[in-house]
Symmetry: C2
Subunit: 394 residues, 2 copies
């Protein structure tokens, strides 16, 4: 244990990567202006159509797997060119009005520097008289359409001030998060080395954040148990890194946080998840390239620079890990990935790895490394893997 | 919005409640010594029985609903006097050995100042030769038995250094958490007013923490959406409080954190959850009195001092909230609570409230308040409710 007995010190300032705060402010103000402009334009078009006694319409990208492509160059799922047109008729009058009101709500939120969750927006509509939503699924669909529309101009739903209901994951390590106060603009400096055994909990929206760090990589971890072990033993100190707990399939804000941190500070992202089809094709694939039926989000929310540290099928052999047999659902998921998933189809090493897993017929959890000692993961596994980064799966 | 425009300031020191750190250290050391003593004693008894050629046995409290009582005085579910005896025979030799090895692992963890999750412990056993567990359910059962045994001497599983796999919830507000470094003992001061739009993420185990606060109450919140709203608008500043996000049914460490904070600093706990049978009988009841089939935990993990701020069935009427009809599962859950749950059977006001809900046939989410404006919850609902604390449900 002696090797891990190191006191917390501040990140060295020598090679610290910093962001200019006034730049960030200006960029955020620009995005807000663009958002307001787009909303006003859409409303104006509708208004002038009505004045001309023409039927107004709104055009949205089609959100479905059929209208998705995997861009090897960009590294994420992209939404295609198919559009659907919503014309104002007797039948569409309600959803047409709802779409306009929802965009109006967004305008209000940007102007007041406030935000709303999907659920908030649904309940807000209860005061929209005849335009109120009866079910949240209806308001979610309208919000998704608007989101897809704005994504074409590189604006995310968070920019529209619609934020997710769920929280983000936990963060610890060599990172200072800069978060400007929403009222005063005063910047809070949050030092993620100073949380003791606890951690920094990522807010629902992260667009306003900037970062200072001298970390060499971000380690994205599937389970809370492994995150707590690495955090309590200050693994981030010895390995010069930032730990992020994914807690299963990462939430929007966790993915966006990792992406933004990695982009802004130019640091690589390594994923450390269970070796099973769920860890590989749900957790890792969603983190890296996004998910098929939400391709309009991928440009913001995926982390194309992520690489797969482990646990790999070969690790099961090399580290003689305790395993469980693959369940039917695992086998189905793995075969689906090989056959239908554009990401896995584009990467030979992944096809080999998944085929190896299917052939072995077993899966292994990251905590299986505890067979060799609770801190084997810190003392042996991670250092060995990190010496061979070129071999990480894509 | 002007009312909420207040800059972050440090908690006033005047009425700050603090804990003596050396006291805390001494208490923790005492608990560790007691844990080791109990493990050694159990092992010695077995050893001397064997030397006397007698059959050794281990005695555990029975963990089942039949062996549970609701103590109105204590305010939580208590485990009864029924015991089960595990005698060493040909049939029990494996589980007997496993129980001893598991206690041995706990002894090692206390001595090395380390910890293991349930899953870690399971994988550790893969190196115990014939005593290894084949399934994690087996090792969980053995751990639960040991936990029940030690609970009789007021030692929690965390004291045995077995920690949960899941993380805790998020915290923001007028609170400083003191967390001693596990190696150096140096104390980290974590100021929960200084996390911008983010929050403090509660670690898996909180026994080592102490607190400084001048907050007037703890607000335990069901949904991430409402937590983010109150946090982003610094509601904790205007209301002098601490916000805790439960994120559904609170994890062990979240419940323990709230309990310890409330006990140590003598501040009341108010729960703010959805008005439906799940929010009332699962989330709130579990927070307040524990859960029936884990009664041996309740003494540590429930928060008997918690009171129910809302959303109440009467709030649905008073605030004209948008509702959803109760589903069959809601009705079943509510009727179960009235008929079988010792907690609700002990509290008339709750019986009336649940009967009112059943009669109305509807439920309402806490975010339904957004009908009256996104910040209605901050500007109107919470202030009004807090003026009538005596009327909070028990």
């Amino acid at each position: 244990m002696a090797a891990r007995k190191t006191a917390a010190k501040k990140p060295k300032s020598a090679k610290k990567k910093t962001v200019d705060l006034s730049d960030l402010k200006a960029r955020n103000a620009q995005m807000d202006a663009l958002t307001l402009e787009m909303i006003r334009e859409a409303a104006k078009r509708v208004h002038s159509d009505i004045l001309k006694h023409a039927k107004p319409d709104l055009t949205f990208p089609v959100r479905s797997l059929k209208n998705v492509s995997y861009s090897g160059k960009q590294g994420f799922f992209e939404i295609g060119k198919q559009k659907k047109v919503r014309t104002l008729t007797v039948n569409t009058v309600k959803s047409f009005a709802q779409t306009l009101r929802m965009m109006g709500l967004s305008k209000e939120l940007v102007e007041n520097n406030d935000f709303a969750t999907k659920r908030d927006a649904y309940y807000q509509s209860k005061n929209w008289d005849e335009a109120r939503f009866d079910e949240q699924t209806e308001s979610d669909t309208v919000m998704d359409d608007i989101e897809a529309l704005f994504s074409v101009r590189n604006l995310s739903r968070e920019q529209l001030r619609f934020i997710p209901d769920e929280h983000g994951g936990a963060v610890a390590g060599r990172l200072i998060v800069l978060d400007p106060d929403r009222d005063t603009g005063e910047v809070e400096r949050i030092d993620c080395t100073r949380f003791g055994s606890g951690a920094y909990s990522i807010p629902s929206t992260v667009e306003q954040l900037s970062f200072e760090t001298d970390a060499k990589f971000i380690l994205a971890i599937e389970t809370g148990g492994v995150f707590q072990r690495l955090q309590s033993h200050k693994y981030w100190q010895t390995a010069d890194c930032i730990l992020v707990s994914l807690a299963g399939v990462p939430t929007r804000s966790t993915r966006r946080f990792i992406r933004k941190l990695s982009d802004d500070c130019k640091i690589p992202v390594y994923a450390f998840v269970d070796c099973d089809p769920y860890g590989i094709s749900n957790i890792y694939r969603t983190l890296k390239v996004g998910s098929g039926n939400a391709a309009h989000l991928s440009q913001f929310f995926c982390v194309p620079q992520a690489r797969y540290l482990g646990v790999t099928p070969q690790d099961i052999v090399d580290y003689r890990l305790p395993t469980h047999p693959l369940a039917d659902v695992d086998i189905k998921r793995a075969k689906d990935a090989l056959k239908n998933d554009p990401f896995f189809k584009a990467h030979k090493p992944w096809q080999k790895a998944i085929e190896q897993l299917l052939k072995m017929g077993v899966r292994a959890e990251q905590q299986a490394l505890a067979k060799w000692g609770l801190n084997y993961v810190i003392d042996e596994y991670l250092p060995r893997k990190l010496e061979q980064r070129a071999q990480f799966l894509p």
